[in-house]
């Protein structure tokens, strides 16, 4: 059996979380489905229209960030917690499913749902960029698009795996969601501000101040390659919002020299951390349930 079959096609956990719960929605009377869908379809077509008319790629990128980064914890917070809260966990443990199938089934079902969101939102960004980025070549636009999508999506993947991990350990869905959102707010907003204040204090003592929004220093000297490992920059450089702004700044050549792998590297790091979390989670489940991985 291939991993694809084991984790996806022959995995009832994946199918239940991807499709099982949503079937209830689909099986509602048609008028209810239409009524529920109308506002979303209307908003979506209004956005498509705005994009075609005015470009506004940042509106759609912002919308993607908002949607994916809010939805990822919302979709994942109960995946394990509901098993404990509804007392279904024991029954799942006693089946022949492996720990890997249980964890990956839950995790991949959420990634699949995130991809559906991306399929709807990403084209808006691309259309908007072609309309708006007059000075950038088509190849440059595609590259900007790919790098931006990579950062947005890989952060959403990291959020999903982190929330899944919280859901397993905290065993309470609402608590897991609250911690995931609070953690995100801390990492995206509070920590960068605190770090800025901290560095400003050092600047008062005569040290060099690094402005997170001035991307020029990142293109100079050894920082062009060393930014990835500079602890002073880590809190900003690995902030996905600042990474996306950086991708835009370098793509539109507001800063001529792009630091090595900017955008791609952050995405890779998010995915690596995510993989580590999922691996640790699988190991924990295997150990707790005495199941094979």
């Amino acid at each position: 059996m291939t991993l694809w079959q084991k984790w996806v096609t022959a995995n009832p956990v994946f199918r239940y979380h991807f499709w099982g719960q949503t079937k209830l929605m689909v099986r509602r009377p048609l008028w209810q489905v239409v009524l529920l869908s109308v506002p979303f379809v209307a908003i979506y077509f209004w956005l498509v229209n705005q994009t075609v008319q005015h470009g506004l790629p940042f509106l759609s990128v912002g919308l993607e960030c908002l949607a994916l980064w809010l939805v990822a914890p919302l979709m994942s917070h109960a995946l394990f917690a509901m098993e404990f809260e509804k007392a279904t966990w024991d029954m799942l443990v006693l089946t022949r499913l492996t720990a890997g199938q249980i964890v990956m089934g839950k995790f991949l079902s959420r990634l699949a749902l995130l991809m559906i969101l991306v399929i709807f939102l990403a084209p808006l960004t691309l259309i908007g960029a072609f309309k708006d980025f007059q000075t950038v070549t088509p190849a440059g636009i595609l590259r900007w698009f790919a790098e931006t999508q990579f950062v947005v999506l890989s952060w959403a993947v990291l959020l999903t795996s982190f929330t899944l991990w919280l859901s397993y350990w905290l065993k309470r869905g609402m608590v897991a969601a609250a911690v995931a959102f609070a953690g995100q707010v801390f990492v995206l907003f509070i920590l960068p501000v605190l770090w800025g204040l901290f560095l400003a204090l050092f600047a008062m003592a005569g040290q060099r101040y690094i402005d997170p929004f001035a991307f020029e220093p990142l293109s100079e000297g050894w920082l062009k390659y060393g930014w990835m490992f500079d602890p002073r920059l880590a809190i900003w450089a690995y902030n996905p919002a600042l990474a996306i702004i950086g991708v835009f700044v370098f793509a539109t050549e507001r800063v001529a020299e792009k630091p090595f792998l900017w955008g791609t590297w952050q995405g890779i790091v998010y995915l690596l951390i995510s993989a580590l979390i999922i691996a640790l989670l699988t190991r924990s489940v295997a150990k707790a349930t005495r199941k094979p991985i």
Binding site: A87, M91, L92, L97
Partner: protein, 308 residues
């Protein structure tokens, strides 16, 4: 067969289950009796491989549940006392989910699901959403799920709790059928009338200690070596009691509310002969009956009402 060898579970200082031993054969229905907090659920969760014992083990059909939990699981079906169901799916989809999770081959799944639905009388509910089922129906669905992979050992933790009398009676009937299928069934309960009808073996646990276990009839014989006869005499109980005290096969006599209760040692023949002699002696007997101990009497006699 199932062989439980010195199973012990400690939670810090608390010893929840103390080195219990028992053995069961296919077809046995074992009533696991004890007050709340005695260690019944802990024992069942260890046997179900959900909880690792501190020491000891159990062997199911030659497979050690501690060393080879994943190999033992296909042989075990566990129905917890408190369970939930996946919502948003129908009865059929729920069972199909577990049939796949138990690795039942795709071409056999349909038949297996139909069989368990029929056994649990849920065929008419196959397209009903699980969350809309009554408590009794959900209990049956959980049992159907537990039987999907045809386990040899069935562990049912308080299966009748929260059920109305009709649902309880139906569950009893269902468990009797399952026992007749040659499975080893362990049913834990603190409601004794639930178990008395269909268990052929019992174990009584208190404070984590298995006080006794064995064949129901053997235990009753052990605990009640003499038969308890209850006799109502129209001429007055005291006169009859006086006469009975002189008989060699009577070991104890007392008068309770104008009825004589006497402990008698002997078989059915001797008992019939005693009745004949009482009548020949001129006593006018209105009722003459033998009172047998039930599980409740056994339980009350053996336990002290303590929890671990």
């Amino acid at each position: 067969m199932l062989e439980v060898k010195g199973l012990r579970k400690e939670f810090g200082q608390l010893v929840a289950v103390k080195d219990i031993h028992f053995a069961l054969q296919p077809g046995d229905i074992f009533g696991y009796i004890g007050p709340n907090g005695a260690g019944k659920t802990t024992t069942l969760r260890m046997l179900a491989t959900l909880l690792e014992p501190t020491s000891g083990t159990a062997i199911v059909n030659g497979i050690d549940i501690v060393r080879q939990p994943e190999d033992a699981r296909p042989l075990i079906g566990f129905m917890p006392d408190f369970f939930g169901l996946y919502e948003g799916i129908t009865v059929w989809e729920y069972l199909a989910f577990f049939a796949e999770a138990y690795n039942i081959p795709p071409r056999e799944r349909k038949q297996v699901i139909e069989n368990v639905l029929e056994l649990t009388d849920l065929t008419v509910k196959r397209d009903t959403y699980v969350e809309t089922l009554s408590r009794g129906m959900q209990q049956r669905l959980c049992l159907a799920k537990t039987l999907l992979h045809d386990p040899l050992l069935l562990l049912l933790d308080e299966p009748a709790s929260g059920l109305d009398p009709r649902a309880r009676a139906e569950l009893k009937e269902l468990l009797r059928e399952i026992g007749a299928m040659g499975k080893i069934v362990i049913v834990s309960s603190h409601i004794l009338p639930e178990l008395s009808d269909f268990c052929n073996k019992i174990g009584i646990i208190e404070k984590g200690e298995l006080l006794l276990w064995g064949d129901v009839d053997d235990i009753l014989r052990q605990l009640q070596p003499a038969r308890l006869l209850t006799i109502r005499c129209l001429d007055g109980a005291d006169k009859l009691a006086e006469w009975l005290r002189k008989q060699p096969e009577i070991v104890n006599v007392q008068v309770v509310n104008s009825t004589v209760e006497a402990q008698f040692v002997g078989d059915d023949e001797a008992q019939a002969e005693l009745l004949r002699r009482i009548i020949l002696d001129g006593h006018r007997i209105a009722t003459f009956s033998e009172t047998t101990m039930n599980l409740e009497d056994v339980f009350l006699r053996v336990t002290k009402g303590e929890v671990a």
